[in-house]
């Protein structure tokens, strides 16, 4: 049973989840959630899946971040988006901002650290999948304010 961070209505929580059955991109016929690899192409079609997981080969591999952004902002995917594999507490805030709402806690890592590092920053310069506007569109910034 994977330990996960799940985004609830208002907060994130740590849960133990049942294993989900996924189909790989090659086998995917729409009947099950889809498991994508970092080198695969998301599309409008993909966005119809009843759940998508993307596998992280390493926490320093940022390709899944771009796939997540494309799913959320270009293909209109609103379902569950899960980060699997070699995640790390120090990329959690990137995952959240790129639109993942389920994050597997990697083996031998501490779920409470993941939870504590959901967002170390109170504000961000640029937009993201969960907050599209750039800082200059969100807030009024004066010189030497």
């Amino acid at each position: 049973m994977p330990t996960q961070l799940r985004k609830g209505a208002t907060t994130w929580e740590v849960v133990e989840s049942e294993e989900t059955h996924y189909q790989s991109s090659a086998d995917w016929d729409g009947s099950s959630p889809l498991l994508m690899q970092c080198d695969e192409e998301p599309s409008r079609d993909t966005a119809n899946a009843a759940g998508i997981a993307i596998e992280f080969p390493s926490f320093v591999d940022g390709r899944a971040l771009s796939i997540a952004v494309l799913l959320r902002t270009r293909f209109g995917y609103t379902g569950e988006l899960r980060a699997m594999g070699a995640t790390h507490e120090d990329i959690v805030h990137y995952l959240v901002r790129c639109g993942f709402d389920v994050i597997d806690v990697a083996k031998n890592r501490l779920p409470e650290r993941y939870l504590a590092l959901i967002d170390p920053y109170s504000a961000h310069y640029q937009g993201s999948a969960i907050q599209p506007e750039q800082s200059f569109q969100r807030i009024s910034r004066g010189v030497n304010a």
Partner: protein
């Protein structure tokens, strides 16, 4: 210059707290070495041959006197009394204690500075022309756009885990003093017929083991779309750049593998979706950023001729000719304070020198300082009537060398003395060359001559674009030096070019002799007034090869 508001200050303060927490987890054994490596790199901390090295971000080289005094204090209190100006306009400290780094960052934050993204596979500090905002030949001040890109790229959610490091340079002048052709992205800002700014995007340039001149990918991109166009390029790179081999992971390899045409097509496809989206830069934001870079309150003045002073002080005359650059405002000038003094590693400055430069900037230059990519200090706005006093003060503090652009003003990486990546030392090579060529008249006669030295393939010393480039190589466990001729970074209105390798490499003690032979080929072949580069372009590499290897065969 740009001054922080509460938004910026809050971000940097939170970044310090975040990094402190990361360091504590590492020291408590919760983060493995290779995990912490990724985090400390994104905060400018390398573990070097002898000690950690902290690279502090100096956004596009711009510093206030208050910030420079803080850097002097850090050099004094946490280091051994000096810092090193880098070829990307940053400053590095070579001896901090790992556990003290969060305290250094806190000190930096108190003057609105940080070390965010000065290393690691992310978007690095944006660099520009050291005379930005002052140069006589500037069409548009690039600094507001540098700041726009700095903010956009800081802790970007999607682009902080790239295949490899990513360097952006911007210029707004006729002469490219920012070497935009050899950056991952080089931006040329020009004025559109409408009067607003527009951007040419040169992509996939770079040095390192595969030197390439960047390809023109986007042309005349209007200012409101500059971030969406950047986002399109970054996304193509983040998704398709190679991650299996770090030597093939830079964007230049991707652009070359795809071909510039296909790469452009991919970028344009991506941009099509982004173009009018939330990345669109508002006129208000541009105006806000521009308001940080308005001219100081210049006094009405005439340009001075200095005829009498020149006659009385030939050294001052030489300094005026070499180190003083024409300003857009009559009666003012931009001054280069050279760090290239024989016996001192290029770019090294003491805490006392930093304090002095801070003081001179207040006395003579509106409190503004710039670090140049040639590793010198620049005071961008100095009244010409103050030049003599500034020169005297600079000479008294080891910063008055009249060698900007000359052979002895070498670009040089820290090399094997400090850097664990280096194949060979570079600082002693620079010193040996400075010692050999110490005749000011000869140096002046040689004219503009860029000698660039790197201790390894990573090319931090930009050897590919030196008129004479020197690269440290490892040959069966010994340090050897490969020499190239005819490179150029793109300044002085000349097109950027990569140097051509002369032939087999040389032992360290042979290098000054070889440089002398190369210079003899130049002086024997040049037409009156012809530069080294022009002579090379006319006669080609063969005469250099023949002379250098004449007795070796």
């Amino acid at each position: 210059m740009y001054t922080y508001d509460d938004f910026d200050r809050t971000f940097v303060t939170e970044r310090v707290a975040h990094y402190r927490e990361q360091t504590e987890r590492y020291l408590a054994g919760e983060l493995a070495e290779d995990e912490f490596l990724q985090l400390r790199l994104r905060n400018g901390l390398y573990i070097q041959r002898l000690a950690p090295m902290l690279r502090v971000a100096v956004p596009y080289g711009n510093l206030s006197s208050v910030q420079l005094r803080m850097l002097a204090k850090i050099a004094r209190e946490y280091d051994r009394g000096y810092g090193h100006l880098s070829t990307r306009q940053n400053i590095q400290f070579n001896w901090p204690e790992l556990a003290e780094v969060p305290d250094i960052l806190q000190d930096l934050a108190s003057v609105d500075m940080h070390a965010i993204q000065t290393s690691g596979s992310c978007i690095r500090n944006v660099t520009t022309d050291e005379f930005a905002g002052a140069a006589f030949d500037e069409a548009i001040d690039p600094r507001p756009y540098c700041e726009l890109i700095r903010q956009w790229s800081t802790a970007h959610p999607e682009f902080d885990w790239l295949p490899r490091k990513f360097k952006i340079a911007v210029t707004g002048a006729k002469e490219d003093r920012a070497a935009i052709a050899v950056h991952d992205i080089g931006l040329q800002v020009t004025r559109a017929p409408s009067g607003s700014a527009q951007f040419d995007f040169f992509v996939g340039g770079g040095l390192g083991r595969t030197p390439v001149i960047g390809a023109l990918i986007g042309q005349n991109v209007p200012v409101q779309h500059v971030l969406s166009y950047l986002e399109a390029i970054m996304r193509v790179y983040n998704r398709y750049g190679r991650r299996d081999n770090k030597y093939k992971a830079r964007i230049k390899i991707l652009v070359r593998a795809m071909g510039a045409e296909l790469f452009r097509k991919k970028v344009e496809q991506e941009w099509h979706f982004l173009k009018e989206g939330s990345g669109t830069v508002t006129a208000e934001e541009i105006a806000r950023l521009q308001s940080h870079f308005i001219d100081p309150d210049f006094a009405a003045a005439q340009d001075l001729d200095f005829d009498d002073l020149r006659l009385q002080h030939p050294k001052f005359s030489r300094w005026l000719a070499q180190n003083v650059f024409a300003h857009k405002q009559p009666g003012y000038a931009s001054v280069t304070l050279s760090t290239k003094v024989t016996g001192i590693p290029p770019g090294d400055v003491t805490d006392k020198q930093m304090d002095s430069v801070a003081q001179w900037s207040e006395e003579f230059g509106y409190g503004e300082i710039c670090i140049s990519h040639e590793q010198n200090f620049v005071l961008p706005h100095v009244a010409q009537s103050s030049l003599f006093a500034l020169w005297q003060a600079a000479c008294a503090n080891g910063l008055g060398e009249a060698n900007k652009g000359q052979l002895t003003d070498m670009i040089c990486c820290p090399g094997g003395d400090y850097c664990s990546l280096a194949n060979a030392k570079s600082i002693p090579v620079a010193e040996a060359i400075q010692r050999r060529f110490d005749d000011e008249d000869y140096l002046h006669d040689l004219g503009e001559l860029d000698v660039n030295i790197s201790g390894c393939m990573n090319a931090c010393g930009h050897h590919h674009v030196g008129h004479i480039g020197i690269l440290g190589v490892d040959k069966k466990g010994s340090e050897f030096y490969q020499i190239s001729v005819g490179g150029h970074s793109g300044h002085s209105g000349e097109q950027a070019a990569l140097g051509q390798i002369l032939g087999p490499s040389f032992a360290r003690d042979e290098v000054p002799d070889i440089i002398e032979k190369i210079l003899n080929v130049y002086t024997n072949n040049r037409y009156s007034g012809e530069s080294f580069l022009a002579t090379f372009r006319r006669i080609g590499i063969d005469p250099f090869k023949e002379h250098v290897y004449a007795n070796a065969a």
